[in-house]
Amino acid sequence: MIKSRPAPKPKSAPKSRQAAKPKPQLLKASTGIQGLDEITGGGFPKGRPTLVCGGTGCGKTLLAMEFLVRGATEFNEPGVFMAFEETAEDLTENVASLGFDLPDLIAHKKILLDFVYIERDEIEETGEYDLEGLFIRLGAAIDAIGAKRVVLDTVETLFSGLPNPTILRAELRRLFRWLKDKGVTAVITGERGDETLSRQGLEEYVSDCVIVLDHRVSDQTSSRRLRVVKYRGSTHGTNEYPFLIDEDGISVLPVTSLGLDHEASREHISSGVARLDAMLGGKGYYRGSSVLISGTAGTGKSSLAAHFADATCRRGDRVLYFSFEESPDQIMRNMRSIGIDLRPWVKKGLLQIISRRPSFAGLETHLAMKHKLINVFKPQVVIMDPLNSFVIGQNEIEVKSMLIRLVDFLKTRQITGLFTNLAQSGSPVEQTEVAISSVIDTWLLLRDIDTGGERNRCLSILKSRGMAHSNQIREFLLTDQGVVLRDVYVGPEGVLTGSARLTKEAEDKAMLLVRNQEVELRRIELERKRTTLEAQIAMLHAEFAVQEVASLKIIGQETAEEAQLAQGRVDMGQSRKVDAKPNKRKRTSK
């Protein structure tokens, strides 16, 4: 058993004297309740009483019971539950629906239930009294199972059951001190009063840790919240945190306190549309970024989302798809019509579609549910379609705050978030109803361009942080092969779409034909020129040959003549009997 007394002393001393040494932390008893340990920095103060207060039906008893059950099952700390309001049978039945098997724990001496019955009508006060009976009873129970944890639910019932509040107050003060001396970690529940946290001002006595639960209804939807009002000797989250009660007990969401220190992935993931990837710096979205697709009704937001889901599942990653307008089956049917079959992914367990109306619960509860589902399913991609259905009345600020927290949460988990947003056709498209631009990394804008009596869908990238993205407005079609981005035709009045684009395409085709013909013509002309040139060359060659022959002939004749002439001279010399010498000389010199 850990005594509570020594704990505060070393805590306060080194803080002022020696800051360098590691500060001794206040000992804490882990609650085992999802999220609550994070807020309280490890649990309730060990060996001290903690007050849990709140209005009717806000989950005080449940929180206290879960604290005990978790302690008994997970931390091997047996606990005593002293109930002043519900009988042991009722309690057992009530918490069975949360998966707590109390009879089993009681049989194994892990938990002891003690119902304190007080009936005002049977009691007559006849003088001074004290609550020693309660002390003895509690002491016996603690000793019977070696309890480390104690719950008193709700001790204030004593005030309605017993006369003389002055005595009760003094006795309660003594009780809490006694619990502290016993070294048990106690949870005391208290009903919320008008002015005070608890009806009888218990927070004055139990001053180590005070937790307030709240069940608030706004715009006809309710959400549960938890706040640590006070935690002596420890830091704690100070915000109001939404919490859920479901079949696994309580889960608190410490999402409000996240800082902006998440790592940014450099990895790209495909948007599922190849040409869109090309527009996004050639590779697609960043992993862990937040993507917003906004557009007016029927511009293909969900289709783009489905493409992304399909591409993600194809890679083997998991997708959590929150739909707030369509049922899972409806989504799958509709997406099949554009050639995206999501059913195999659902069957494989890679895709989970959760359809809930936004009015199903309060924003906080929605957030809490998402938080929980994400924790369980561990997706790489989360899709929310569409965001703005949360905007009911004047709650835009809350929606924004919810979204920021969700985006922060997703980013710390390196989960890519894709949100769609329905823009009002009247308002400027760049202005989303939920002014969330600041938390969005990549923002795709879809819009209808109506020209020439038709509506055509266009896509552009309004912004994309950290990448050289295309600045063009692209027309896209929803075909049975999914979203197909078309080539861009820019006319005098902007981007050409629809039939204007088709006309332009035809014109271009005709022009291309003409150009091709011209090229062909030129080629033929060139060929002709070459042929002509070659013919001329051949002619010249022929002429030359003729001349050559002629020239050679003349040369030959002249040579023959000269030979004949020489022969003639020799003959003449012979006939004249001239000596051959001078001729010979002449011949050699020649």
Partner: protein, 114 residues
């Protein structure tokens, strides 16, 4: 610590209707915690009241919870001292040191509430 007082009572005249007493037998249990001042006062006060009002027709057990702590749960004892009137019905719990005799008598259904 069981006091059995079934002997003859002192001849003291009280303005208590005798008829009711004769027909009913009282089973009383007084729970105390050790020998605190309050406990001692309660025992003394109760003995006095019983002798004065219920001579011969009551049985009183004084139980020290320190000796038998398990009884605290079984008997739903919170406050100390607690006097439980088991019989005659209805069951009644009287808490405090029993110094207010009037209230004790009302609690024991000996006297009607004023």
């Amino acid at each position: 610590m069981t006091t059995q007082s079934s002997g003859p009572a002192k001849p003291k005249v009280k303005s208590v209707p005798r008829k009711k007493r004769v027909s009913d037998f009282y089973t009383l249990k007084l729970y105390v915690a050790g020998l605190s001042q309050k406990s001692a006062n309660a025992i003394a006060n109760l003995n006095k009241i019983c002798e004065e009002n219920l001579q011969g027709c009551y049985q009183l057990d004084v139980i020290d919870l320190y000796q038998q702590p398990q009884l605290a749960e079984g008997e739903q004892i919170i406050a100390i001292p607690t006097l439980i009137k088991k019989l005659p019905p209805p069951l009644r719990r009287i808490i405090g040191d029993l110094s207010n005799t009037e209230r004790v008598l009302v609690g024991l259904d000996i006297r009607k509430k004023a």
